[in-house]
């Protein structure tokens, strides 16, 4: 079994189902946390700060940020649960430990987690999409493809987060990942402001992060400016998934395999 074929196993979906069952018990608070917080930032920055200026060539700040926040929502929901949540499932709750006494391959567990983060990212992203549509910030039927891209984004963000959850010594060390990787990625991801004025090297770093590409796709879908370039951005994400998914294999097997 390899980490890609693991996505197509029944056990991956059973792991997904386990997370769904657990999530159902606290769904409302989870929705609130994952929607209210980004929404508050969105309102404050978009309408508060945005009232003072507009972005040359991009219109209002709120219009610029709306699709960016779709990427941000995908990143936050997938990262937090694949890092913090998965750490709890593995270390404190023995969830994976009992799975591997049954005939479940560790890679099937990982695939189930990725699928789960795809679902979370899609769910919370769509709720946010509905909100910005309500504010009249969605301008194209292309936006109907957002759920699909949210799911792919959820997977690509979940992979490194799950890896980190498997290698840290204590749960608190996850904050290194949040602070040193996730937050900088958000700052250079094109969520809050355009990156045209960035120096070349900074743009290159941005280009290497999945958020940069996800945000570009969301912006194109929401504004209806879809082009061949948009397809290439999606391709970048797909390739990133296919490559990154092999990286955590050794760490996952080391902790859970025979």
């Amino acid at each position: 079994m390899n980490p890609l074929t693991a996505f197509f196993t029944r056990n991956a979906w059973r792991v997904f189902h386990r997370n769904l069952l657990a999530w159902q018990k606290y769904a409302w608070s989870s929705v609130a946390i994952n929607i209210v917080e980004p929404f508050a930032y969105f309102l404050a920055l978009g309408f508060g700060l945005g009232a003072y200026f507009s972005l040359t060539g991009y219109g209002s700040l709120v219009q610029f940020m709306a699709p960016g926040f779709l990427g941000l929502t995908a990143l936050n929901t997938a990262t937090f649960d694949a890092a913090w949540g998965a750490y709890e499932r593995r270390v404190f709750n023995g969830v994976y430990e009992s799975m591997v006494t049954a005939p479940v391959d560790p890679l099937e567990i990982a695939a189930g987690e990725y699928l789960w983060q795809a679902f979370r990212s899609m769910l919370y992203g769509c709720l946010f999409l509905a909100v910005i549509a309500g504010f009249g910030l969605v301008h194209s039927w292309w936006a109907l493809l957002c759920p699909l891209v949210l799911a792919l984004s959820g997977i690509v963000f979940a992979i490194p987060a799950l890896l980190v959850s498997f290698v840290v010594k204590t749960q608190e060390h996850l904050f290194y990942y949040f602070s040193f990787v996730v937050t900088p990625m958000v700052m250079i991801g094109g969520v809050f402001f355009p990156l045209d004025k960035f120096p070349k090297w900074a743009l290159l770093i941005a280009w290497l992060t999945p958020l940069y590409h996800a945000v570009k796709v969301f912006r194109a879908l929401v504004l209806g400016t879809v082009s061949g370039q948009t397809g290439l951005e999606v391709l970048w994400i797909l390739i990133a998934i296919a490559v990154l998914v092999f990286v955590p294999v050794r760490s996952i097997r080391a902790k859970l395999a025979n």
Partner: protein, 309 residues
Amino acid sequence: MCAQNTVVYARSLTKRYALVEAVRGIDFSIHAGECYGFLGVNGAGKTSTMKMIYCRVARTSGELLVLDMDPTRDASRIKQRLGVVAQENALDPELNVEENLLLYASFFGIIGDAARDRAGELLDLLAISGKSKALVRELSGGMKRRLVIARALVNRPDILVLDEPTTGLDPQARLLVWDTLTRLIDSGLTLLLTTHYMEEAARLCGRVAVIDEGRILAEAPPAQLVAQYAAEDVLELVDADGRLPSDAQLDGLVARRERHGDTVYLYNADNRALLHRMAALGFDPPRHVARRASLEDVFLNMTGRELVE
């Protein structure tokens, strides 16, 4: 090489971790339908042996066959036919009792009505059916352990592996688990368990292996171990001032004498005869306990250590 009814077979089995050699070359065969126990203190190598059998860690060297399959090659097929009660309960605290069973059943391909029927059956068997919608954290320690046993039985395993099934339970909960396991043994299921309670080993196991520092020191039915390595009776007494008569003075009634600090253990055939002889010598043993010998004494004799500190 496996006899017809051998379900687990180990020869020169070892397990080395980075810093410790947990299992140092052990041999054993477990037969279908028996209850086989590993008796030893913490760190003796019991759990490592179990984990090699239920395919959680790979062996370092030696031979190991579980249901005629090699755990390094056929882990998945072996797991399909094992029931495992690991030392940590590892119940899913975010799921309720029934969901725990149904999820685990699904990993064996048991789904839908078949899974629900099986879950109901097991909850009845383990007397926790009233709790099927309860969250795991609402269960008592004994109920949790019974739920883990129920979960391990969900796939109708050929061997039930239990790593310290009653450690940490109160006496009443322990009795309930023993009752359950006794019924499973009576039904013909093969059980493999570890314990540091000699009473548990004596009560449940057809054969016991005494394991210490990664080696098996002896293996036999519990009663035979007691007869061979202890004696019928033990007279335990405190002899702080060394006034205890010698073996010769006691007419050779003492089969074996062990001293740990001030406590002396006199293994003998009949405590009453021994006490009678002591009285005749004018020695009144201070603070003594006259009792039957047990596996505890076997263990003490073999390792110089007590099982439960």
